[in-house]
Subunit: 199 residues, 2 copies
Amino acid sequence: MNLYPEPLALLIECLQKLPGIGPKTAQRLALHLLHVPLEEAETLAQAILDAREKVFFCSVCGNLTDVDPCHICQDETRDRSLICVVEWPRDLFALERTREYRGLYHVLHGVLSPMDGIGPDDLKIAELLHRVKDGQIKEVILALNPSVEGEATALYLSQLLKPLGVKVTRIAHGLPVGGELEFADTATLSRAFLGRSEI
Amino acid sequence: MNLYPEPLALLIECLQKLPGIGPKTAQRLALHLLHVPLEEAETLAQAILDAREKVFFCSVCGNLTDVDPCHICQDETRDRSLICVVEWPRDLFALERTREYRGLYHVLHGVLSPMDGIGPDDLKIAELLHRVKDGQIKEVILALNPSVEGEATALYLSQLLKPLGVKVTRIAHGLPVGGELEFADTATLSRAFLGRSEI
């Protein structure tokens, strides 16, 4: 005999497939959804369907959007000579939150990873080269993660981009603000040394 | 300008209303739902609607169910002379997982809490008394949480139940299995002393 009534068991099973949600949290969320006003549960269900229906990738930069091209690509106040290359839309969101960068973006949708069978054709690299060849771009900023795959992808991209006559830069890696030297790992510390700048 | 496309922003907002889900987790879950096969997202949305539509409270014991009376109330192999009283369906699920108890249940849907304006009429107390008066019941086991409200409710219930000629018991409070005496709080330790049994 089952512990839960069938529809509840199904809901818990679905919730458990979400990242970071274990059996206990799934049960808690499911019971919460049974407890809230009906409208709130229906709004969530509809929001899931709506997001799937209306959100897609911008044909220019690969960011998530509900209009094509996306708001960032359309924004005339942005510096159209700068492209910042990121792995995923979530990285773009993180950079946008800083309100520091006012150029354009390009989302690769991953990094080169031969182990997982991900080669250049699986990423939006051709689209990036196409945008750079169009001529307006003066600098490409690589904001990839400092993982082995991220580094390799950055190197690969810089070799393709430099012959096109654009400046290729990468964001600085070093001590995080608020981080303490004593507790930083050696890789971060050596990067901080290599990337030192005059004051 | 918004960081996220409108339907994604809405989904994140809905997910953030779930217990224990902050803005970062909500973003992660929303992006995950955009990433998985369409079918998986649709199944989750449908599971939420189905659970709301098909799950209700058992008219006998107050447990969550999709048939009335629920499977536990219908189960003829269970000891119908025992009723275990719990606060919420989640407590019932926790007890069922032990596979120790084979009697019936009664879910109060809360505890007495004058501070929150919850009195006897807001709980399924009348239904419990009705079941006990029916005569089959020999023992009522109070499995309420050892909070101030839980204790008060247990006391209140025992005063109502004893005159009906049933045995009223409560589950033991003491050291949790695997817990160490040294680290137990004083309230738990004094309960463990009071509830000592001969070996």
